[in-house]
Assembly symmetry: C2
Homo-oligomer: 321 residues x 2
């Protein structure tokens, strides 16, 4: 559900009512039950309450299954974030991971998350950075990769939520090579192509110009790309970061692997602002989410667009089909 | 002229023949004369040779004035870059600066440059980084600012051609404040608005999230913006770099001041790839150039687009009008 005071509940309900989503899979919504019931009622979505706990033995196929989390309170108001809501959002994530892990018989499983209030969650759970890293912990995943999938671009940051000054030091041949391997393994899920062309961005302006503006291309990126090419040849890079995304938009590349967060997020949001989907690789189950925030300012007003959430659900279903 | 073996000569000639440019100003083309004559002849442009030397006493108003540089050779072939060509390009820059500096009676003056082969020039002139920094030296300019002007975005990098790892250390309250002051002084030239809304990008992912992903926002950028606001209030920032360019594209901001090269060039080229103009502030004279390279691969084939060069000329003329 994400933060119960954000747009999460309503975009989930709107997605469940959407002709493009209805019947696509068996849906289990993990939520504050009062908030979620209201949102589903508002959209005329039929649902059943499923008892809390990790065993999902009886699931309805013809309606939405709602699992209430312990903090379930009914004291949440749209647009008014509280610590209680942040706690509730965090419990939804825990419950989702728990359900996935303990219901091993459900082989094709995926989690779709709604936006959370990171700063409030980090007040309860210090060190909380985002869904991606939190799930990495919950699933004890050694190596995970974040992918942003839009209509025009598909981008992968090698480093994520770290200060810019720590980026050059965090890059290594191993990290780039392992990220490329995870992208290669999941290329069909990311872009639907067995022979996806993967471009790798440089770190420095103009790709370092042979070491004049920085040495990481020569010392780290080129060796990593050369190693990765041995098992998957359709790779090119490093390409200067000011042109690689343009090339991808012009369909010269299918996936761009970039060195840091803003390097790919800036260009990505220029062309896929509203429609982006965030996907995590390496968890052992599929996880997607819309690429926008809680939007507390418009929550509960019935104007939030569910298009990114619907894309996230469709992508998750496609990935496990 | 830029590199004589690149697309410079032909896009200059094509611009001189263009109805949007012809008669707009008195034009002096500083070039390898054989290469330039051929290019102008190909486009049917009428021109006169002007004697070399820095005193531009007799200039034709009804035709293009061509000044030949000393390396003038006639041994240049399109698409075949040579050291001789690089030397010629460098001499064109020297001659342009010299003409501007010694003809003080010509008050309204501007330089438009064509693309050069930076790596070959740096073989002749070690430390050559680009036009911007070279002109800073020629004009003994204390502080210069590079601006990229496109149809959709107008962006300014606070730091330019330095390794990414050196960016955080290069940022200071003074540098950001001085850059903002230069942008404010030239805001009408940049975007035609007296009350231009200037957005300032953050350095770290999500704007550092209050110090969690880096402290430069709190320590450097916010104090600099607060200081700059005292003299010019229409400023907002720091704004996370993954959304600020989208906001500018949606016309919520007129100019974006960013912290480093790829931070603004990536998003800029997504939407203004072919039409961008590069402008240098702080030289004491206007200087613009198209925002593309020498394109040796298509030079001399008659297919290079002169649209960015024409925009650069138009912007320069407008700036001195």
């Amino acid at each position: 559900m994400g933060d119960p005071a954000g747009i999460g509940p309503e975009i989930i309900a709107r997605s469940m009512a959407s002709p493009g989503i209805k019947g696509l899979a068996i849906f289990v919504v993990i939520a504050d039950s009062a908030v979620m019931r209201k949102a589903l009622d508002d959209e005329g979505v039929v649902f059943s309450a499923v008892p809390a706990g990790s065993e999902m033995v009886v699931l309805a196929e013809d309606r939405v299954n709602v699992v209430a989390v312990p903090t379930n309170s009914g004291r949440i108001e749209p647009g008014k974030p509280t610590e209680l809501g942040a706690r509730c959002a965090l419990e939804c994530l825990d419950a989702a991971a728990d359900i996935i892990k303990t219901n091993k018989e459900i082989l094709r499983k995926a989690i779709v998350t709604a936006p959370v209030d990171k700063s409030r969650i980090s007040g309860i759970y210090p060190g909380f950075v985002g869904h991606t890293e939190y799930f990495q912990e919950l699933f004890s995943a050694k190596m995970i990769t974040m992918v942003l999938i839009g209509e025009h671009l598909r981008v992968v940051p090698v480093t994520r939520h770290i200060p810019l000054k720590d980026v050059p030091g965090a890059l290594s041949v191993k990290l780039i090579r392992d990220t490329l391997a995870q992208v290669v393994d999941n290329r069909c899920m990311i872009c639907g192509k067995q022979d996806a062309r993967i471009g790798i961005a440089a770190l420095n302006p103009h790709g370092g110009e042979g070491g004049k503006f920085g040495g990481e291309e020569v010392d780290i990126i080129i060796p990593a790309v050369n190693e990765a090419k041995k098992t998957y040849p359709y790779m090119v890079g490093p390409i200067p970061a000011d042109t690689i995304f343009y090339k991808a938009m012009k369909k010269e590349l299918d996936i761009v692997v970039s060195m840091y967060h803003d390097q790919c997020l800036g260009p990505f949001k220029m062309v896929d602002f509203a429609s982006g989907v965030n996907m995590t690789l390496g968890l052992g189950c599929v996880r997607t989410s819309p690429d926008h925030g809680t939007a507390f300012d418009i929550a509960g007003k019935g104007i939030a667009s569910s298009s990114s959430m619907e894309s996230a659900i469709q992508l998750a279903v496609k990935a496990i089909s």
